[in-house]
């Protein structure tokens, strides 16, 4: 079974088209040179990386669900926000931050599976638009539940990494930025390892790519899809918990702007591509921070429209995102 499933999950590794690679490498070189030239540039780049890591991990959650269910999960950000509130509640009950962190991830996993089984599975194969609307309904529902339970007022959570700042070569690195970067990248790597090296991950890849064939070789497709939702919820929870300290306060609208950036990041990378989502997120984070620093026309109101304008420009050149591939269809 494993051998067969491996064959099904094969068309996984494809490099992006070479012009895209050239552009990506070029921007990396530009960033490195810029960082060496100017300390402000370096500082903004590191802060951008930390923000981008948050966008990237939420974008990755979107991509996981997109690959398994072929819909954009509008509720992803609100699921993440609800997880942060769960962590908040646990800390109120006397857990330490990292205990609460771990418990929250477990709860998010269970809730993700529960959502898939309870409301997504019944509409899954009936109509794509119905699934999208169910996620929109979930968005409203979760938002309402959190507002109902905890209220819309601002809450405060302890900072996970403290406020220390490191200095290296005249550049100040906030410990919090570094911590955010480490935690999100670590969770992405763990997830990648899970998908790449375990039987469960293999089954999930096979189920997402070729559901019918996968079920023929003995993969429990439905179960795999549910686990996929669970993992996406966990990833979202990590993104939420890491996003919270950079906003300083906790309120129900916490993840809404971040979800939009995650959408942009996921589309930028190509919705089919997990690596694309992470790269897209990081690129977006750095790009927005640098633009905010150096281009004064783009004030905070214009940040979001500007991000989307860039996204649109990319899509017009490459309609399936940077790492995406056009689908070949028989007519």
């Amino acid at each position: 079974m494993v051998e067969l499933a491996r064959k099904l999950a094969l068309p996984e590794r494809r490099l992006p088209a070479s012009p895209v690679l050239v552009v990506l490498l070029g921007s990396c070189v530009f960033l490195v040179i810029g960082c060496l030239q100017s300390t402000i540039f370096a500082q903004q780049t590191v802060a951008g990386l930390a923000q981008g890591a948050v966008y990237g991990s939420l974008a990755l959650a979107l991509v996981l669900i997109y690959r398994a269910t072929e819909v954009i999960n509008f509720a992803q950000g609100e699921m993440a926000m609800a997880s942060v509130y769960i962590a908040y509640q646990l800390i109120q009950w006397g857990f330490s931050y990292w205990e609460a962190f771990a418990v929250t991830l477990a709860v998010a996993f269970v809730l993700g599976i529960a959502i898939q089984v309870a409301v997504i599975r019944p509409v899954q194969h009936k109509s794509v638009i119905a699934v999208v609307i169910v996620t929109v309904g979930l968005f409203i529902l979760i938002d309402g539940l959190v507002n109902w339970k905890w209220g819309g007022a601002i809450r405060f959570m302890p900072a996970p990494f403290g406020g220390r700042v490191y200095h290296a070569g005249g550049v100040a690195f906030a410990r919090q930025d570094l911590g955010t970067l480490v935690v999100t990248i670590a969770s992405v790597m763990l997830l990648w390892a899970l998908f790449q090296f375990t039987k469960l991950g293999l089954g999930m890849r096979a189920a997402a790519l070729r559901p019918a064939a996968a079920s023929l070789v003995g993969v429990r497709v439905n179960r795999m899809l549910a686990v996929g939702w669970g993992l996406a919820a966990v990833l979202g929870a990590v993104a939420g918990l890491m996003a919270e300290p950079s906003q300083f306060v906790l309120q129900p609208t916490l993840m809404q702007p971040i979800l939009l950036y995650a959408f942009a990041a996921a589309v930028l990378g190509g919705l089919e591509s997990p690596a694309g989502a992470v790269v897209g997120g990081l690129a977006l984070g750095i790009f927005l921070n640098l633009i905010g620093q150096y281009v004064h026309f783009v004030t905070s109101e214009l940040r979001l429209p500007f991000a989307f304008a860039v996204l649109l420009a990319v899509l017009l050149v490459k309609p399936t995102g940077l790492f995406g591939h056009g689908k070949v269809r028989k007519v």
Binding site: Y66, E70, V71, I72, F74, V119, P122, V123, K126, S127, I129, A130, V132, I133, V134, V136, G137, L138, F139, I140, L141, I142, D143, G144, L145, N147, W148, G152, L260, F263, A264, V267, L271, T299, E301, L302, L304, P305, F308, A309, L311, L312, L315, L316, P319, T320, G321, V331
Partner: protein, 312 residues
Amino acid sequence: MRARVPAVASAAAVAVVLALLPFGMSGYHQALGAKVATFFIAILGLDILTGYTGQISIGHGAFMAIGGYTTAVLSRDHHTNLVLTMLVAFAVCFVCGLLVGLPALRLSGVYLALATFALAVSVPQIPLKFSTYLGGSGGVQSSRTVSHLWLYGVSWAAAAILFVLAWLILRGRTGRAFRAIRDSEVAAVSSGVKLPVYKTLAFGISAAFAGVAGSLYVLGTNGFAQPSEFGIILSLQILIGAAVAGLGSLWGVLVGAVFVGLLPEISSSVPLIGSAHGQDVVFGLLVILVMVVLPTGVAGLFQRLRRLRAPT
């Protein structure tokens, strides 16, 4: 041809009911009725694009914002007749729709959905940036406000006119081209349908409808055009309405409009939860429930009923 008579008769019946309804209602309920008409027009526009041409848009709130601001600004600066501003909004949004439709030619499916979503997010930010002319977060106040009855009458009159317009567009050559594109782009091109022309046209028409809805929406909020009124939630409401309506059914649109127009009001009066946010919980639950029970919307239900009645 035989199906025409009952269709026309039921349309007339609905029109009569809608025309008589306001006389027994309070001002509050008239405003609510006008809101349903507003949603009706917006959902109708979205249905032309998504249900009949197969292009998804999550960005119709953006066109509503453009239409609404057109009305408010014209009224503020030139004291233009409000009905006239709706015509202008129709034209302006038609052009905007064409402009959005052109790049949309390169995109499809989920990428198009997210690109239009980007539009919905971006447009309300523009008044914040150019606040001297567009009023910033405070919004633009039109020079005239209208009574509830006026609003109800004009809204439903506009809805009726646009409904007939949509029907005329969809029954003829253009509608056939739209449906051909929806069912198979390759087959449509092979039969001589000019894909770029009709896809852009569908975007234009759809946006124009949303523009009129936007004008009415602004008049319904005491003539105030505010960025916060045109947030993502509005676009999502239109999408929910279209999904409840089911794609490609003009009658379903009425049900969809009633659903999104009235439900938040009804669920806020559910005593069960009794908090300001209880209504979101109820509304969210109902949206999910309706989709689970009727994944293809009211249109799908109609189809099933028709098949039951005439088993062939």
